[in-house]
């Protein structure tokens, strides 16, 4: 197959730019009362993506021990369905400024996060709508928030996303793309020292990012080291925050008790304690909302 043909076909791969363009077109053209029906159809179609389907299924076996293959197949559909809604909601927000309803859990912690004069780190997962949550916070608060994202794997998609994020990002919200182990670190440290809030997803390690060992649902896993290193260096608290979709354009935001990465002689022990605290929170959140954990690859090598 020629290079140009391969390049053309890659647009239609799972991570290809075509699906972003198609979603944008759909958000601007499909009547909203047909949206659930259309999304149900395309969710079923995306179940043909074997790698993603298998990844979710394997994760479900770890999250729900004893679960069987057939029910997990339908649970996988539910994960894909929720993912489709979250990316559609995000696109609708970007193009039409349609904002969902928000409910809050751990309101006192949310208020602490909003009102603390020092910087803070929000540690979240690939759940619910990370992007909309960051926009909500930026809109509702005077605090500046820097949202760290892993770049898209496909170059064309990356360019498209970066162009659109720049065009529609809320004031007070900066998006930083984590393209390497150390590129953003100094900027983030500086932002924390200036009293800004950094939002990072801490449930997945992308290639090239330094990691810390962790245990998740009884399996060896890894979490990004960055948030913990930053929290230690800047002396700021980490707020676990999770967003769960509760229905059509309706999300629940949970903010957990903050914790610190205490500076001590034994850095390894400090990190272990902090990672353990984080994974405990993550497990509780994922167990309660497994249908919204958008991890399409096995989270542990033991599950491959």
């Amino acid at each position: 197959m020629s290079e140009s043909r391969r390049s053309f076909l890659s647009r239609f791969g799972v991570y290809g730019v075509f699906w972003r363009q198609f979603l944008r077109w759909a958000v601007l053209n499909v009547p909203m009362w047909l949206e659930p029906v259309i999304l149900a159809f395309w969710t079923a179609l995306f179940l043909l993506w074997g790698a993603g389907r298998r990844g979710v299924s394997r994760n479900l076996r770890a999250i729900l021990p004893g679960s069987r293959a057939l029910p997990n197949f339908f649970r996988t559909y539910r994960v894909f369905w929720n993912f489709a809604w979250t990316i559609a909601d995000h696109m609708r927000f970007q193009e039409l400024r349609v904002v969902p309803d928000w409910e809050f859990d751990g309101l006192e912690n949310f208020r602490r996060l909003e009102s603390t004069p020092e910087g803070a780190i929000i540690l979240t997962a690939h759940m619910g709508n990370y992007d909309l949550g960051a926009h909500l916070f930026a809109t509702m608060s005077d605090r500046r928030i820097v949202m760290v994202r892993a770049p898209e794997t496909d170059a064309r998609t990356r360019e498209w996303v970066e162009r659109h994020h720049g065009r529609t990002a809320a004031e007070g919200l900066t998006i930083g793309f984590n393209t390497g182990a150390g590129e953003l670190a100094l900027d983030l440290l500086s932002a924390l020292r200036n009293g800004d809030i950094i939002a990072i997803q801490g449930d997945r390690v992308t290639p090239g990012i330094s990691a810390l060992p962790a245990k998740l649902f009884g399996h060896a896993a890894e979490v990004p080291a960055g948030p913990f290193a930053l929290a230690m260096a800047a002396g700021v608290p980490i707020f676990p925050l999770f967003i769960a979709r509760r229905g059509l354009r309706r999300y629940r935001l949970f903010v957990g008790e903050p914790f610190e990465v205490v500076r001590s002689r034994n850095r390894t022990e400090s990190f272990e304690r902090a990672v353990r605290r984080w994974t405990e929170e993550l497990e509780i959140a994922v167990r309660a909302a497994w249908f919204q954990w958008f991890n399409f690859a096995p989270f542990s090598k033991e599950l491959r």
């Binding site: 053209n29 009547p31 009362w33 349609v98 309803d101």
Partner: protein, 193 residues
Amino acid sequence: MKLIKGSEEMRWMPSRYHFALFRLAGWLRLRNARIAGERDRILSLHRYQSGIEMSGVGFWTLLTVTCWFAGLLRGLPPPLALLAGLPLAWISLQVVTAFAALVIAPLVRLVARRPGENNLALNSFAVMLMLVAAASWISMQRTWARFAAWQFLALVALNALAATLLFFLRDDVARLERTLGGETSASSSFSSP
């Protein structure tokens, strides 16, 4: 986009619904209700904000169109015809939407000299009109699917009646919305008392 602090009951605010039947139901539900719950959430005042309405109307449309296809598949027993009708309905709704988006909307914009990319209202009207036309034709065929077509047309007519009622009740509806904070655009910090 208006955001207000609200309670669970305030989800019934008429401005959060698109179809007149639902807006009327919302008004009826809230007009004499005491909003007792704490205003502990952020509600978006947008015409397509109700999951019950959007999912309800969407899947009811899918089911109705499935019955139409099933009724036309005369060679099959009804259960099999319904099974075969479902994917046909699912695909046809998308074909109809694509037709509205790719043919009707650009033509209308060309004639009206109003360029733009957001065709939601236009396509919604065009798709609904096509469905009414299809229902009208099927209602005249000698097939059990004509009952599905009649119920569709009946609900469309009921919605039109509800829209007429709402026109005369528009001041009451506006007063209710104002009382609940519907006219206030609130992007204030959630921590403020």
